[in-house]
Symmetry: C2
Subunit: 309 residues, 2 copies
């Protein structure tokens, strides 16, 4: 799919990033993949989300909003530490007395690693918008299962010059909890709806079978299995470069992975299956700016209409 050299790719990423920061849409922080956003950038995300909300109204999804940090204990019930350790964010804090504090400051002053004096808190950065949902669903689902509407900032430690690869970004998700069949139907249906919504704002995405970035050699096998079982689709489009498309939305079946991990059962007593669509909101905004230009006032009338701009 991509025949570009790493250098050429990096140059494309850097070029688009430079344009975005020159236009004031992204505000550099000095850290790769971490930006402030302008009001215009935020406005586009807000309007796109509202379009999704309008499209989803008939599903009567339960709305839940979780923050960018989650319970460490819940985190450890998932297999994230096994499968994606390199992406995790553990939140640590200072829990000592004044003498300990003086030592911490001295270490810092001497250029030593003062973070060694911190202790793990009860929380981790949230790796995916749906993780905090599962422990709240432990037990037996109602007949017909549940559909939940989530949005969360999520964290991935993968510093990059690709403006699409942020360390913290928002996922808007519609998660299905239910039987295996209900989960697959949800995934496949929302794959269509996702395509339709993205097409309606002028993003001509392509559907591809995909895999998660599992860690290490063992992870390569898991990725191959995931792809073989066709558990994950991505909707991709060229953003910084048309040569290497970027996933801006994904639709996933988790089988009964979370049902087992969090003891979620269906009304008929089996372990619940789950599936979700996740809209990558910052990436969708970046794709919109790339496709239609940096001034939303000048976007095509049909797109402005869908976004109520």
């Amino acid at each position: 799919m991509c025949c570009l050299s790493t250098e050429t790719l990096t140059a494309s990423y850097q070029a688009y990033l430079d344009e975005l920061t020159a236009a004031g849409l992204l505000i550099p922080s000095g850290v790769k993949g971490l930006y402030g956003h302008s009001g215009v950038f935020e406005g586009v995300i807000e309007r796109f989300e509202q379009a999704v909300t309008r499209r989803a109204v008939s599903y009567k999804a339960e709305v839940m909003r979780f923050p960018a940090i989650m319970s460490r204990q819940t985190y450890l019930k998932t297999s994230h530490i096994e499968n994606f350790p390199d992406l995790m964010g553990s939140v640590q804090s200072f829990m000592g007395n004044e003498r300990d504090h003086a030592r911490l400051l001295q270490k810092r002053h001497q250029g030593d690693d003062w973070t060694r004096d911190l202790e793990p808190t009860e929380v981790m950065m949230t790796p995916a918008a749906c993780y905090p949902l599962y422990p709240t669903a432990t037990g037996t689902l109602p007949e017909g299962g549940r559909i939940v509407d989530l949005r969360s900032f999520v964290f991935r430690h993968e510093p990059s010059v690709d403006p699409c690869r942020m360390q913290i970004f928002r996922q808007r998700e519609f998660v299905r909890l239910g039987t295996a069949e209900e989960a697959v139907i949800h995934r496949d249906h929302w794959l269509e709806v996702g395509e339709e919504v993205l097409n309606s704002v002028g993003l001509n995405v392509e559907r591809v079978v995909a895999n998660d970035p599992f860690f290490g050699r063992g992870g390569r096998m898991m990725a191959a299995t995931q792809k073989e079982q066709i558990l994950k689709y991505e909707l991709v489009i060229g953003v910084a470069t048309t040569e290497k498309p970027t996933a801006i939305t994904s639709c996933n079946c988790h089988l009964d992975h979370f049902g087992h991990a969090f003891d979620i059962k269906t009304a008929d007593g089996g372990y619940a299956h789950s599936a979700c669509i996740g809209f990558g909101l910052e990436r969708i905004a970046l794709a919109l700016f790339k496709t239609h230009g940096f001034d939303p006032d000048q976007w095509p009338a049909s797109v402005k209409n869908v976004l109520a701009l």
Copy 2:
């Protein structure tokens, strides 16, 4: 101001928290001070924010939105690690190879502290919405300074049963960068505007001179000085209990603290002063639910009108 015993206070906090979770407005995570929010809770925050935005339109503030994590290097240019080390959140991640990973998992399996194997990332949790702004303002301000409209999730490691004391919450801020006089005028003006907006939604706040929770014995002196210089006002109201009011908004002068730390100068060459108003959005929502009840449809017409409910 408060003559309640700790036990009585804790009981009040727990009682209101139980009501909020029973009503589904807050969704417990198993961690003190960390919750999911229902759609109704989020809707109230959204509508209150829109009321603030409408009230602020004439100031033509620059809109900037920073995420819940910020550059570690920027963090260390502030004096947060000196003054509030117990509230900090350092984000650490796994940066090893597969062998290191196996060791990490083994530690975890044995119940050892696996977080010792993590490394500090380039980021910290954002302690206050305005911190990420300052490095972007290094240099000379335009004539007349700047007014910036910020909103951010911020982190404070202070686990508590008080529903108002969340570990992660949103601050909506209007920050002034300019001369000493411009900063004080902004603070005092927005103290009035803040009161007016809160009153308009039926929150009869009281204005009190306040101080930040500086760490340790040295911190007690700093707090006393801050209070003596009347740098910080809080707008307080009874939430879980009327006996001990809670700050739901604060208005602060930072003198030239950030101007020095980030080398921000005014047009006439002096170090810039700064000041801000910060609306505590979750606390305002909690105060609204306490004052008007859990069903926004039943709120007084005048409040619903301001909030366009």
